[in-house]
């Protein structure tokens, strides 16, 4: 009873679902961003967004955060995955422990780190207890943007490295041992085995992990709000502000499209950068 159309038929429900709950809202958002109240096409909302004094700061901050977090996370996850894969026993236990932060929502993660860094937080009491400082320090005050940034980076790394780790551990486990043996016989050091065998053969997993992380990094929101309030403007924060505080959903929609465009651009970039040459089966 197999028909060539069967796969499409089976995909239909999912496709419909996507159309109704993704494509349709997307069209609505685009409509809001590009069409004025009078029903004409307009770039007025984009102009308003781009000329607002917070736009450039938000854009820069978002990029800086992604740049500070993602490469470090990938490197760290690669290192941790290598360690985990080299372990003979206790491998699963370590993996479970390292992935605990995955079970915590980003807002909760932000609040945990807030509890560490705020004026009455753990860090201050500890430093005071040790006699390093006399007065509690306002790490997250509006004039200390640097520390806010650092705290966010720390929280993000703590929170979201595990997802990369899980993907990379799974990917590394799929690389047959025989390739490492061959590399070893032909003179490859540990490091060379990593760069010549692991990295190239891990490309598909790296691709997945990076796309996932980069997209999430550009959508960073709750952690930033928890730790920085409005002191560190970011794109998602601006969407929220325009939508709920300034009650201008058209500009919020324009922002949303910017985030979408950035995500798509980076996805394509990563897919191109980590593509496998035709014929090379990895």
């Amino acid at each position: 009873m197999y028909s060539r159309n069967l796969p499409y038929l089976l995909l239909l429900p999912a496709t419909l679902f996507l159309c109704i709950f993704f494509l349709y809202p997307f069209v609505l958002v685009a409509w809001q961003a590009f069409v004025s109240d009078t029903g004409e096409f307009t770039s007025e909302y984009f102009m308003e967004m781009a000329t607002h004094w917070k736009f450039n700061t938000a854009l820069t901050n978002t990029f800086m955060l992604a740049l500070a977090v993602v490469p470090f996370q990938i490197a760290l996850a690669l290192y941790m995955a290598t360690l985990v894969n080299g372990m003979k026993r206790g491998r699963d236990l370590i993996l479970y422990v390292w992935t605990i932060p995955l079970g915590i929502s980003d807002l909760a993660a932000g609040i945990i780190w807030l509890a560490i860094f705020e004026q009455t937080g753990f860090l201050n009491s500890m430093l005071q207890g040790l006699g390093v400082i006399e007065q509690p320090v306002g790490f997250l005050g509006y004039q200390s943007k640097g520390t806010i940034f650092l705290a966010i980076v720390l929280a993000e790394i703590w929170r979201a490295t595990a997802i990369v780790l899980v993907i990379l551990v799974a990917g590394m486990g799929l690389i047959p041992k025989e390739y490492y043996e061959a590399a070893e016989v032909f003179g490859a050091s540990r490091w060379k085995q990593f760069t010549r065998i692991t990295l190239p053969m891990l490309k598909p997993s790296l691709q997945t992990a990076m796309i996932l992380r980069v997209i999430l990094a550009f959508e960073v929101f709750a952690v930033v709000v928890a730790l920085g309030g409005t002191n560190l403007p970011i794109l998602m924060g601006e969407i929220y502000t325009w939508q709920y505080d300034l009650r201008d959903s058209s500009v919020a929609a324009a922002y949303a499209l910017v985030v979408l465009a950035i995500s798509i651009a980076f996805t394509l970039l990563i897919m191109w950068g980590l593509r496998t040459p035709k014929g090379a089966r990895v």
């Binding site: 016989v185 190239p200 090379a280 990895v282």
Partner: protein
């Protein structure tokens, strides 16, 4: 100088004894073939020499260095893996060049060596392809080329030609042998294929169940098998074995006929071993051959160059090589006698040949 010495090497995987106390010395520039049935421990031994597996006991020496504790890359070896292990993410060129790149050879030298070994293995037109675009036999030749390109002192090859067609295999066999002799490489070569073993080896080490049963030249292994196993494993068809009972004074009763054999009463029984081609067939029992044996022909297999007759002697199997236009038919009685100086005697208790 790269003599390989394997001293009392044993290997256990949990409860399985893959190798029992192996002693083997491979002379500098020697071409040694490890021959044995599937699962007898050939790959395990090779991997221990390569350093990919640690022996449970014993020592491995290459040249005048003990290498047990050395990493594979410090042992001066190259290896052709049984499962090829050709890197799927590299082109054939880069695969062959892998060892050379690791040794940081200049690009011109890399190109020279890759092109030379590739043309030797007849894969020079595949250099730009990836392993996924190759046939099994082509991939295997890439693995061989990759090992040859590094020009190692010691080359370990695990069934490197098993996937090639008969003609190509014969050609590769000859070329490999020539190249390795020229490059003065010490080689351990694993194979199932006894013809390959006989044709290439300076010396054949026959393995059985984790033991080396015999290590000798091809002719020696064939003519003077050190054990029942060697006689039955080597030679196609294998050696015939017939039970013999002592009659005293060095005479033995084989299927009702007297055969002259070893003197000495310490053996309650022996086995007579004779190769199928070392049997003389007589037209009829005659006074000229008073001690001939008889056999009943069961199956005849015309093999072109000769006719192979499977017979029954006293309920034991006997294979005889006949002339290709012999007129035997199934059911015929065959009168035969073994060529006296080709008879070998085996002790059924130890399964070893008598000295």
């Amino acid at each position: 100088m790269a003599e390989i010495r394997i001293n009392q090497v044993a290997k256990q995987f949990g409860d399985t004894h893959a190798l029992h106390s192996i002693d083997l010395t491979i002379a500098d520039q020697e071409f040694l073939v490890l021959l044995g049935a599937s699962g007898c421990g050939k790959t395990t031994l090779l991997r221990i020499v390569a350093g990919l597996e640690t022996a449970s006991a014993g020592e491995v020496w290459i040249g005048d260095r003990r290498v047990d504790h050395l990493a594979p890359k410090d042992r001066g070896i190259a290896m052709v893996f049984q499962n090829y292990a050709v890197f799927p993410h590299l082109t054939v060129f880069e695969n062959i060049a892998f060892g050379l790149r690791m040794a940081k050879l200049p690009q011109s030298e890399v190109e020279k060596r890759v092109n030379r070994t590739a043309s030797l293995m007849h894969i020079e037109n595949l250099l730009k392809r990836y392993s996924g675009q190759l046939s099994g036999g082509q991939r295997q030749r890439v693995a061989v080329a990759r090992a040859l390109a590094t020009e190692p002192e010691v080359l370990l090859m695990d069934e490197p030609l098993s996937n090639l067609d008969a003609l190509l295999r014969m050609e590769m066999r000859a070329e490999l042998k020539t190249v390795l002799a020229e490059s003065k490489t010490t080689t351990i070569y694993v194979t199932h294929d006894q013809v390959e073993a006989m044709s290439m080896a300076d010396r054949i080490a026959v393995m059985n169940k984790g033991h080396i049963v015999q290590a000798a030249s091809a002719v020696d292994v064939y003519r003077n098998p050190a054990a029942h196993f060697v006689g039955s494993f080597i030679g196609n068809p294998p050696m015939n074995f017939l039970d013999a009972k002592p009659l005293g004074d060095g005479w033995w009763d084989v299927a009702g006929t007297r055969v002259k054999g070893p003197v000495g009463g310490q053996y309650p029984a022996l086995q007579l071993g004779i190769r199928p081609e070392d049997i003389v067939v007589h037209d009829a029992p005659s006074s000229a051959h008073p001690d001939s044996l008889s056999a009943t022909v069961r199956v005849l297999e015309p093999l072109g160059s000769h006719l192979l007759a499977s017979c029954k002697v006293d309920n034991q199997m006997l294979r005889v090589v006949l002339d290709s236009n012999a007129s035997a038919k199934p059911g015929d009685q065959l009168h035969w006698s073994p060529v006296p100086d080709r008879i070998r005697w085996f002790d059924p208790a130890t399964e070893l040949a008598l000295p």
